[in-house]
């Protein structure tokens, strides 16, 4: 009996402990494991919206500003931007942009693609594919080898391999073709869900195909496949109304133009254009030999739209951040509300002009250029408040590029002079975009073929004898990805594509 009592006691103790534990667990389970303030899923349209916002941030944000400083469109004059302006740049400078590209843009667009496939919405699918292709080829163009084929798959590839730059170019071309096919295959009743660049409706099919083709044209141009570039550009954005523009508004830290936010609200004084080449190129009062104003060209409107000299934050030129919102002046190129052209008619036509010159020769290229000048003559992409009327961009003729002509004072071959003009025009038209940094690193044409375009234009590097050839792989990526190259390529190491 005593023995039983002993076991009984043991059992009682165990039961008591068991009761206590189950009471404990019941008590703790009375509180939710999940955050009541956060959702665990969102719709296709909401994810596309997020992807598009991150995509604008990529195309218009920090990398564009650095590109602008290194291609002498801007000058970094204050604090951290002084060193950056002098090409002193290190891996952590790219952490935010890199993270946004992968964890902001690519991630959202991939989730969107999965969600689009589930509901068989090939329009939304195509949109996400096109933006992905543009984002990733842009990333490869400035960073060189990057994670892509194994990217965005933490489970299978916690250390994504770095694909060759050229492989990323090929893969994005495939993706763009797939996107175009998807638009053609899309079923009635589906739309570009969540899209805020255009109407979002099925009626945008042609626009999205044009956008895809302009991206293709850009890729072919980088790769030196000029006939392909012409073919794509002809199917691309051939009308400015189809431009893909990142819209902006009047709410700080919500939808301000990113350049504006940076220059006026966040980091006033950092970014100016004091010593830059670009304002001197177009300022009618500039006495530089390379100034673009001539008998047929008056850049005054475009200059006024692009730059100011009121020295609000820095001496000399500053990018034109004037706006109705804060300054009571018409919105400039970098104004509060000014939309940011990401893939535009401007670029498409300049690709067409250059590729035509390379494939079809002087005459074909001059026609394209003159078409574009006609567009500028009608006000082009300027805020109409800055447009003073026609007559600023008259058509060029062959004589202007002949030795000693107004576009060939230094007696180049006429085609070379035309080439320089096309590159210069593109340099001005794409002011502030990452693509300018790509263009400046491409090799020239004709007698310029051994020079990169920055040298063709006559840009003086801010330090040393050449401009940087790439951005540096993000420090955060190196810290956590064992597949990252060690050491990572340096700033002045040319990439495979722009070699």
């Amino acid at each position: 009996m005593k023995k039983y009592m002993k076991s009984l006691k043991k059992v009682m103790v165990i039961l008591a402990f068991g009761a206590v534990f189950s009471a404990c667990e019941k008590y703790t389970e009375g509180v939710s494991e999940f955050d009541p303030t956060q959702p665990t899923d969102a719709s296709l349209g909401q994810v596309i919206n997020s992807g598009e916002v991150a995509y604008i941030g990529f195309m218009e944000g920090e990398l564009a500003r650095i590109a602008g400083m290194w291609t002498s469109q801007f000058t970094g004059v204050d604090r951290q931007y002084v060193a950056l302006n002098n090409y002193t740049s290190t891996a952590p400078d790219y952490d935010n942009a890199w993270s946004n590209i992968y964890a902001g843009v690519l991630k959202a667009l991939r989730i969107a693609q999965q969600k689009a496939l589930v509901v068989n919405n090939k329009r939304a699918l195509a949109l996400a594919q096109i933006l992905e292709a543009h984002a990733m080829v842009t990333t490869a163009s400035v960073f060189g080898d990057i994670p892509y084929s194994q990217a965005n798959n933490l489970t299978d590839f916690p250390n994504p391999a770095f694909d060759k730059q050229l492989d990323v170019y090929s893969a994005t071309l495939v993706l763009l073709n797939a996107a175009i096919a998807n638009i053609d295959d899309a079923v009635t009743g589906t739309a570009y869900e969540g899209d805020f660049f255009y109407s979002g409706g099925a009626g945008d099919d042609d626009i999205w195909k044009a956008v895809a083709n302009t991206v293709k044209a850009k890729i072919y141009l980088h790769l030196g496949q000029y006939q392909n570039a012409i073919d794509a550009a002809n199917l691309g954005i051939t009308d400015p109304s189809m431009d893909l523009i990142g819209p902006h508004g009047d709410i700080y830290q919500s939808n301000f133009n990113i350049y504006y936010s940076f220059m006026v609200y966040d980091r006033p004084g950092y970014l100016a254009a004091t010593d830059a080449f670009a304002p001197r190129l177009i300022d009618p009062s500039s006495t530089e030999a390379y100034n673009r104003n001539n008998a047929k060209t008056n850049e005054a409107d475009r200059y006024n739209f692009s730059y100011i000299t009121d020295e609000n934050y820095a001496s000399g030129y500053e990018p034109n951040y004037y706006s109705e919102y804060d300054w009571g002046a018409p919105d400039g190129y970098f104004g509060t509300d000014t939309g940011w052209a990401i893939i535009a008619y401007r670029e498409n036509q300049m690709i067409l002009a250059e590729a035509s010159l390379r494939v079809n020769g002087f005459g074909a290229a001059l026609d394209v250029l003159n078409d574009y000048r006609a567009y500028l003559n009608g006000g082009g992409y300027l805020n109409p408040d800055y447009y003073s009327g026609t007559g600023n961009y008259l058509a060029y003729d062959a004589a202007d590029f002949a030795s000693g002509g107004i576009e060939n004072a230094d007696n180049l071959a006429p085609a070379d002079a035309l080439y320089r003009e096309i590159i210069e025009e593109k340099y001005v038209s794409l002011l502030g975009t990452i693509e300018v940094f790509n263009d400046m690193r491409r090799n020239g044409f004709g007698s310029f073929s051994s020079k990169q375009n920055w040298a063709v234009l006559g840009i003086t590097p801010n330090a040393g004898t050449e401009i940087p050839q790439r951005f540096i792989i993000s420090q955060a990526e190196i810290n956590s990805n064992t597949s990252a190259p060690r050491p990572t390529p340096g700033l002045f190491e040319k990439t495979e594509v722009f070699n």
Partner: protein, 1109 residues
């Protein structure tokens, strides 16, 4: 006064014995001879004993042969008396000469005999905390206990502080110890600490230091194991005062303290160089630099104002409120580098930003009681004005009521109740263009900030009233000042915090059987912090202005039910057991809103409606978590010399992943052996104990990490610019970049500790030494994943950290000659810490900036400083550029370690009659700090080391390269190309010449504003040693308590004291760092060693008078 100890439980067992006669007597206290109840009286060598009654009387049967009576009472020195033939033995016990009390309070709030403990506990008595002169409790603990490292966020009134016990043992989790107040866990939150904004308070500072009876720091895992997953960072057990139970007397104590606080260490700046660039004056300096003209070279007298509208250079006029007018002044030229600037006046920020701060602290406490109950009531108000001229204040009112009542021999009840009201005004600091020091220290020395507001009249005669004038906006012509004028900022950017806090606990004790005692304890901690943060529309940080209103509240319920039993197994074995349950719930709630770009821009109301609808942002946050546990602790003692304690806690929590097991067990054991019991000769070594312990504790995951959420879409570029999906189309959400983990379990820290407690020469000297080693496994962290995986982090039980360390505590009565005595108490500790596994991430951000951060890096101590170093070859030599300058490395690496090599403190107490002098010194050896401010001041040409001029010959000038480019530099190749020749053809430039190995190069403006300055990428050049020695405290006190005085006044005593705090500090890099190295930009966050425009520390002089009735 040890009377409150009467409440301690004394169990005495009487066993029938053959008795022959009776001895009686009375035991009295050492201070005033009053009766001492509860004293143990034992016939030595037997278990025959008794306890004195409430009148201090005892009665004991002794054998006819007599023997020895041993009297013992916790806190007092034990005495043994030979009975001989006496039948009455009255005795007055004497105070234990050792400074430490023998009683320490356990993690559950139960008093324990320290000599029987197998763990290391540091005790700080309440008096030492309130005497320290610190207005707040946490910093009052500084240097008082070994192994406790306290770093104040800044010198602002009410500023929070970081407490670290035995090194850092988790990575991204909370590092602060668990605070137990009277047996109940309470909050010590410091909510909202970043690289900018205002310094936040630590909620522990809501407690009035004068209410504290003692603070025990339970350092090891074994001592804290009863709190399971909340004890990994140590436990601080605070016991508040109880009423005296003597004779029903009411004690009243009135206290008044006045403190005068002064700026302590401040950045040493040069005042020789005017605003401008390239050694030429500029009224609105390019990039805000003070690389302008040489001020002593100016003509002197009034500046040449350009006062005539229409003339060249006329820029309008700024009319300050007192009528003083400022006009444009011509910039310097090559021919005349001073331009129109004649005045040699300079303005020191130390004069115009600061004043003598002060606080007044008035407290009243009333306590009393009798044998069945007692009460303690205190009211205190501390009202502090910081050293910053305006709007830096802290006002704390506390009320405490503690009561205990014995209802019968079986039932007792107690309650502790505290209420605190805190109001404070805080000044912006850190990386913040509206911060005090950021604009304040960058301001050119020739600019007078005191004319900070007035009317700007432009060239057309239009008036703009209420404009801010700042050195980068010298006429107030622009609405953008780039950096706020610090004086304007103090008045216009207002941050306040208003806290109401309730702390309460009730306890019911039942002792139904002689050996059994049951305690039920319920605690509540609730605070509400209402914060307002207002930026004027002209604030540099946010043009258009911004108002944030938020209410943060936290509520914690805690319930404990435990039973204690005491058994005597036989003469040699005693056994005590405790069995209990704990329930705890914590809820965090934050609701607020922000409005920006005000519509009403003058006399702005505190109205979130004051903007367009799009410019309003509501926000909220919520967290709730529950913990439940069952625990037991068992104490075995053998022959009163060997003590074994076993503890276990089984715990489940709502924040563990439900996909897996949710109850975890934490064991602990400790063993103490009083080996001196075996010694016959105790003349030298009067007491000796060896102890060892083992314990496991954990870290609970923060709630809601078990799932991957969707968050509002957006983009932020790290510079402040951002886009929000909500402003586009119909808005967007996207999967978070942090991957949740449904299998999350607590992290586990296992610690082993060995130590000894020794007392020598009749307890006049005591020494404790402890060695510990611990390992944290499965540490929870957001493992940084490569962004290319689509996630920037994943929550996981991944990392492993190891710590080991040594701690020594020493106390001694060095001299005692008549009424004079000299006592010392000291402590020394060292820790070594290493992150042994970081789950595949090589470096994990904890706090700081993109360029310089405090991090966890595999193979390195936690918190290492990380950033860009100079480019070096394999042999460690600098790789120079073509001109001969060092270059920035492309990638980041470890550049410093903020963990000190060791810390030591030594307190000396000299007493003579009623006088007492206490001197506390402290040394921190090693540990790095990033002197971020200094680096930035190099860039601006304000730091003392940029005040150098060098003259080189014409030929040298043509050969010595200059660095970089900057606007206004005429040439960027050599000294000759950048600077202007002197009359004799030589060149004088501001800067120095240095040879890094490829010949001389100039370190001038071009160097400091680029790679050689704080905005350049190379952070390693600003890493400095935090090593310092300081006189932390000197207190001279006098107690007027002579018998004559007492009889004449009916008062018990009047105590006076004078305290100086932070009187002296010296260290190799203190001047360079420019502030007290005991600071941290990111507050009590997990990252440390960062100094970047932190608001300065203070030195204080205090006078206290305390009247005791």
């Amino acid at each position: 006064m040890k009377k409150f100890l009467l409440m301690s439980f004394v169990f005495a067992l009487s066993i029938a014995w053959a008795q022959d006669r009776i001895v009686t007597g009375k035991v009295t206290s050492p201070e005033d001879g009053s009766a001492l109840p509860g004293v143990n009286v034992v016939l030595k060598g037997t278990s025959n004993g008794t306890v004195t009654d409430t009148e201090g009387n005892y009665r004991i049967n002794v054998p006819a042969s007599g023997g020895i009576l041993a009297f013992s009472f916790i806190g007092l020195q034990s005495q043994e008396i030979e009975i001989g033939t006496q039948s009455t033995i009255d005795i007055r016990l004497s105070t234990d000469v050792r400074q430490l009390s023998e009683v320490v309070v356990s993690a559950l709030g139960i008093e324990q005999n320290k000599d029987e403990l197998g763990t290391a506990v540091s005790q700080v008595n309440g008096g030492a905390v309130s005497r320290s002169g610190e207005a707040t409790l946490i910093t009052g603990l500084s240097a008082k206990a070994s192994g406790v490292n306290i770093v104040k966020s800044s010198g602002d009134p009410g500023a929070g502080a970081y407490i670290q016990i035995r090194g850092q043992s988790t990575i991204t989790g909370n590092l602060q110890p668990l605070i137990i107040l009277d047996g109940v866990p309470i909050y010590n939150s410091q909510s909202g600490s970043g690289v900018d904004g205002v310094v936040q308070q630590s909620r522990l500072n809501d407690i009035n230091p004068d209410d504290i009876a003692s603070v025990e720091v339970l350092k090891g895992a074994s001592a804290g194991a009863l709190w399971g997953t909340r004890a990994a960072n140590g436990v601080i057990v605070i016991t508040t005062k109880k009423g005296s139970s003597a004779k029903g007397k009411i004690n009243v104590s009135l206290k008044y303290t006045r403190s005068e606080d002064k700026l302590y260490i401040a950045h040493d700046l040069t005042n020789n160089w005017g605003s401008g660039s390239n050694m030429k004056y500029q009224q609105a300096p390019q990039s805000g630099w003070s690389w302008g003209d040489y001020i002593p070279g100016r003509a002197g007298g009034a500046d040449n104002f350009i006062t005539t509208p229409g003339t060249a250079g006329y820029g309008g006029v700024f009319t300050a409120n007192d009528g003083t007018k400022f006009y444009s002044v011509a910039n310097g030229t090559n021919a005349n580098p001073h331009g129109g600037k004649n005045s040699q006046d300079t303005f020191d920020y130390r004069d115009n930003l600061f004043k003598t701060g002060y606080f007044n602290d008035i407290g009243l406490s009333i306590n009393g009681g009798d044998k069945d109950g007692n009460f303690f009531i205190s009211v205190d108000n501390l009202s502090q004005e910081g050293i910053i001229k305006t709007n830096s204040s802290y006002d704390r009112t506390t009320l405490r009521v503690n009561t205990n009542k014995k209802l019968s021999d079986i039932v007792r009840v107690g309650s502790n109740f505290g209420y605190t009201k805190t109001k404070s005004n805080r000044i912006q600091q850190g990386s913040n263009t509206s911060g005090l020091y950021l604009g304040g220290l960058r301001t050119s020395p020739d600019f007078d900030n005191s004319y900070d507001i007035g009317t700007y009249t432009n060239a057309n005669g239009i008036n703009f009233p209420n404009r801010q004038r700042a050195y980068r906006n010298p006429l107030g012509a622009s609405t953008a000042s780039v950096y706020d004028n610090p004086l304007w900022m103090m008045d216009h950017n207002i941050s306040t915090s208003d806290v109401d806090r309730f702390l309460g606990s009730v306890e019911l004790g039942i002792a139904p059987l002689k050996w059994l005692d049951i305690t039920a304890r319920l605690g509540l901690d609730n605070y509400t912090d209402s914060r307002k943060d207002f930026y004027d529309p002209l604030a540099a940080l946010i043009p258009g202005g911004k108002l944030t209103l938020q209410t943060i509240s936290e509520t914690q319920y805690n319930g404990d039910l435990f039973a204690q039993g005491k058994f005597k197994l036989n003469d040699d074995f005693d056994f005590r057991a405790l069995l209990g349950m704990n329930f705890n719930e914590r809820t965090y709630n934050n609701v607020g809103g922000t409005t920006q770009a005000f519509i009403i821009t003058q006399n702005i109301p505190l109205d979130l409606g004051n903007s367009s609808p799009d410019n309003k942002t509501p926000f909220n946050g919520y967290q709730q978590q529950r913990t439940a546990a069952a625990y037991t602790t068992m104490d075995f003692s053998f022959k009163n010399q060997l003590f074994l304690n076993l503890t276990g806690r089984a715990e489940s929590a709502s924040s563990f992943g439900r996909a897996t097991q949710s109850t975890f067990f934490y064991p602990a054991a400790n063993l103490a052996w009083q080996f001196t019991q075996l010694l016959s000769n105790k003349e030298v070594l009067s007491f000796g104990k060896l102890r060892t312990s083992f314990g496991q504790v954990g870290v609970q995951p923060t709630p809601y990490n078990t799932a991957t959420y969707y968050t509002a879409g957006g983009f932020a570029d790290g510079w402040g610019s951002q886009l929000l999906s909500g402003a586009y189309g119909n808005g967007g959400y996207v999967q978070s970049t942090t991957l949740g983990n449904a299998y999350l379990k607590p992290e586990r820290k296992t610690e082993v500790e060995f130590g000894t407690d020794l007392r020598f020469f009749n307890d006049r000297v005591n020494l404790s030494a402890t060695y510990f080693t611990n390992k944290t496994t499965e540490a929870i962290l957001s493992v940084a994943t490569a962004a290319s995986t689509g996630f920037s982090s994943k929550t996981a039980n991944a990392a492993e950290i190891k710590n080991h360390g040594l701690e020594f505590d020493l106390g001694a009565e060095i001299l005692k000659i008549g009424d004079f005595s000299w006592k010392i108490s000291g402590n020394w500790s060292m820790y070594r810490n290493k992150v042994t596994n970081l789950a595949g991430t090589s470096s994990l951000f904890l706090a700081g900036f993109a360029g310089t951060s405090s991090r966890a890096v595999e193979g390195q101590p936690l918190g290492v400083l990380w950033g860009i170093d100079w480019m070096k070859d394999a042999a460690g030599n600098l790789v120079l550029d073509e001109k001969g300058y060092p270059q920035a490395a492309q990638n980041e690496s470890v550049i410093g370690n903020p963990n000190p090599e060791w810390k030591a403190a030594l307190g000396n107490t000299f007493s003579y009659k009623g006088f007492s002098l206490y001197v506390l010194m402290e040394r921190t050896q090693g540990g790095d700090i990033w002197a971020g401010t200094h680096g930035i001041l190099d860039n601006f040409g304000r730091s003392y080391n940029t005040d150098v001029m060098t003259t080189v010959s014409a030929s040298d000038a043509a050969a010595i390269p200059v660095y970089g480019t900057f606007t206004g530099s005429p040439g960027n190749t050599t000294v000759a190309s950048r600077y202007r020749p002197n009359a004799d053809g030589s060149y004088t430039f501001r800067g120095s010449v240095e040879d890094f190995g490829k010949g001389n190069v100039a370190l001038d403006q071009g160097w400091y504003t680029s790679t050689g300055g704080g905005f350049g990428p190379v952070a390693s050049q600003f890493i400095k040693k935090a090593t310092n020695t300081r006189i932390r405290e000197i207190t001279l006190s006098y107690s007027l308590n002579s018998t004559g005085f007492r009889e004449a006044t009916k008062l018990n005593s009047i105590d006076f004291s004078l305290t100086g705090r932070n009187l002296l500090i010296w260290g190799p890099d203190v001047r360079y760092i420019g502030t007290d190295p005991e600071t941290n930009l990111t507050g009590s966050s997990n990252g440390r060693g960062l100094e970047y425009f932190n608001n300065p520390a203070t030195r204080s002089y205090l006078f206290t008078i305390r009247i005791n009735y």
